[in-house]
Amino acid sequence: MRFGVVRFPGSCDDVDALAAAKRVGDAVILWHAERDLRGADVVVIPGGFSYGDYLRAGAIARFAPVMAEVIEFAHEGGLVMGICNGFQVLCEAGLLPGALLPNVSLRFVCRQVDLDVVNDQTPFTGACDLAETLSIPVKHTTGRYYAPPEELLELSAGGQVVLRYAEGHNPNGSLEDIAGVCNEPRNVFGLMPHPEHAVDPLTGSAGGLRIFESLRAHVDGRVAV
């Protein structure tokens, strides 16, 4: 299977995401200015500060040429995962519900947090167990998840809330401790924590690997079918 990791001019965690993806499959960089997904089975929009995050995080990146392809891919059911800035981009692009607002502290926060898996029936969490706790770092200034109250209800009811910060671990004031959500068909997923930075105990923890493994298993299963 192949991951495609998008690189915007201000992407920072693209190399990390590429390396993490390579632990479970093949992975290539997708250049923001090219409308080419290079045959990727899964598109990863990595963290960083695409376009310096000026205006609103993700607002400008969402118009990059490659994003037109990503949006089409997503509408056709392709797997897309946005991490941190990538999550912001997917919300801005309308592929995911809600928006991300400045942390309540108004400060950047880099911290290892615990996450509860609240839906293990997605391509991104299939290898996890329900209520499993993943230890994964966050690092962002704009990560407070927001959606209007009615929409929040629907998200919860529809299983679109995939990850929540464990009790006492919400680093940014996200509504209902939401750390990651997916779209209704469950092929697009965004999360503020950085699974690509949790793939090796040597550099922290390995909780994030579960997400890459889930994707691998999902794609393999699908290919086999």
Binding site: L55, A59, F63, Y146, P148
Partner: protein, 84 residues
Amino acid sequence: MRARVLVRPKEGILDPQGQTVHRALEALGFAGVRDVHVGRLIELELDDSERLPEMCERLLANPLIEDWEIEDDHRAPEREADRP
């Protein structure tokens, strides 16, 4: 021509920046401040303002979380007159 776009957090959405400024003003001894909100000011120099609403919708504001408003040319004072 010149135009201004004012973007502000939608009512009802927590605005920690506004709250922080509010607290800081009080701490500095400014009494009688009841509420503060912080948003964005975008000033443009452009040939015509016809497409401004579209710019706001597509890029300058996120309608889910922000309201926007356009102030057109004649109300925007000159730069030189900025300082009171």
